[in-house]
Amino acid sequence: MKKVIEAENLVKKFGDFTAVDNITFQVNEGEIFGFLGANGAGKTTAMRMLCGLSKPTSGEGRVAGYDIGKEAEKVKANIGYMSQKFSLYNDLKVWENIRLFGGIYGMGSDEIKEKTDELLKRLNFENEKNTMVKSLPLGWKQKLAFSVSIFHNPKIVFLDEPTGGVDPATRRQFWELIYEATDRGITVFVTTHYMDEAEYCDRVSIMVDGRIDALESPMKLRETYDAKNMDEVFYQLARTAKRNGG
């Protein structure tokens, strides 16, 4: 199976604090990979390294076929990224946001135009093309932000708590968009604090004190930890943490 992420003995230290403590794992092409952990467990630091935003102190990693230490710029160009906090420019129209991100990722004008129409149609957003993003309802913004993050057809998209704060119906619609993206061959790497969402992932890793202490399918994790749901699995693992992050 092709790997989209290969991390080997990745370490990140800040002074004498080891934020990420020697993690090794792979993410398969087309997979939905859930990246869980308590606050302060090292998720954000690990994710920043995988996105080419922060150089590992030691260890190696390849993302979308490029070395995260030596080819960080190529990594950035070949991934998508979306977080709840940073997503779209509120003071730009819907089509302007799409145009901007398409341009940043080096797509040509014709391609952007063609794909914009296609995207708006697929999302049923044709009437909102000229709407300012700030006046869209939150759920729509999230849909748009996700679509923009995979507009340049990256091999993998990183989603950092994409569903925080939305209503339960919108949260579920969002996961349907994730499934659609994987149907188109995009690999999804997602963090969340909703444990029911961990169940929607093909495999889940759980970080504790900078280490990956578990990595399996949700079903296997439930069996291993003799838990009735992922919430219990998470609880069993996270409470062993020594760090005072949470």
Partner: protein, 302 residues
């Protein structure tokens, strides 16, 4: 007298109606949850009740005091922990706490028993600047600062947003203890599972309260039969169930799907058969009791 009385409250920001006529009451000593997504109007409601903004219409009373006329008195008797971190980043942990105590004309010593459980977890770091604390520690400091003057009513606006499930459980444990001290607590959250930890909850969406009751009461009022099914390929099963003509609603819930059928159908046998024909093997529907998310989604549809 009630701890909080709100009648016909409305608030608009330019064209956006943040609150569209909200009324409710909270009893003294109650742990009352305001549950709803971002943009539902939770923060606006909190800011009116803590006298930071005026409503356009309606009235609100806290401990019998009017939020407009008696705003000064209200400010003495409420504690407020806003959603965004509200402390002075350049002051140390201890300086922040001392500052809030002084503003309210009290000392850390006087009400130390109230914050002891919470504060002693961050006391080892009392000389650290607040801006350098981890998320969980900031949350504990903010709660300590909101409590230091022994408020009668405590307002917590999304204290657990972005917090992991273990730390959230711990935080709710702290609230349970404060409740025993007789403090009325109003807490908002977008996490539906936290609703179960409140005495009563208001489900809020788009500026309107859809329902107020105890969590169990809200679940009892859920009037459809609800089934749960599982399959090998959950995503394909979800799509197929939605295609079935008898399906009213179908949502993913962790490792299973929750389903209601049209016209209050008596049996899920038809759907089981349909799923088998679609190649999902033997699927067994199990009737279950709704949870708060089921209730919330059903109310939103109305």
């Amino acid at each position: 007298m009630k701890a909080i009385e709100v009648k016909g409250l409305k608030k608009k920001y330019r064209k956006t109606e943040a609150i569209k006529g909200v009324s409710f009451e909270v009893d003294k000593g109650e742990l009352f949850g305001i549950i709803g997504p971002d943009g539902a109007g939770k923060t606006t409601l909190f800011r009116i009740l803590t006298t930071l903004i005026y409503p356009d219409e309606g009235e609100a009373r806290v401990e019998g005091l009017d939020t407009i006329k008696d705003y000064k008195e209200i400010r003495h008797i409420v504690g407020y922990m806003p959603g965004r971190f509200s402390l002075y980043q350049d002051l140390s942990v201890e300086e922040n706490l001392t500052f809030f105590a002084t503003v309210f004309n009290t000392t850390i010593k006087e009400n130390y028993h109230l914050i002891e459980d919470i504060y002693k977890q961050i006391e080892p770091f009392k000389r650290r600047k607040a801006g350098k604390l981890s998320g969980g520690m900031k949350q504990k400091l903010a709660l300590s600062c909101a409590l230091i003057h022994k408020p009668k009513v405590l307002f917590l606006d999304e204290p657990t947003t972005g917090v992991d499930p273990v730390s959230r459980k711990e935080f709710w444990g702290m609230l349970k203890k404060l409740k025993k001290e007789g403090i009325t607590i109003i807490v908002s959250t977008p996490y539906m599972d936290e609703a179960m930890l409140c005495d009563r909850i208001a489900l809020i969406s788009e500026g309107e309260i859809m329902k107020i009751n105890s969590p169990e009461g809200i679940i009892d009022e859920y009037d459809s039969r609800l089934w749960k099914i599982r399959g090998e390929d959950m995503h394909r099963l979800l799509k197929d169930v939605r295609e079935y003509e008898g399906t009213e609603s179908c949502y993913a819930f962790g490792d299973s799907l929750h389903i209601t059928l049209k016209g209050g159908e008596e049996s899920i046998g038809g759907l089981e058969k349909f799923a088998e024909e679609k190649g999902h093997g033997k699927i067994r529907g199990e009737e279950i009791r709704a949870n708060i998310e089921d209730c919330f989604m059903k109310l939103m549809k109305k």
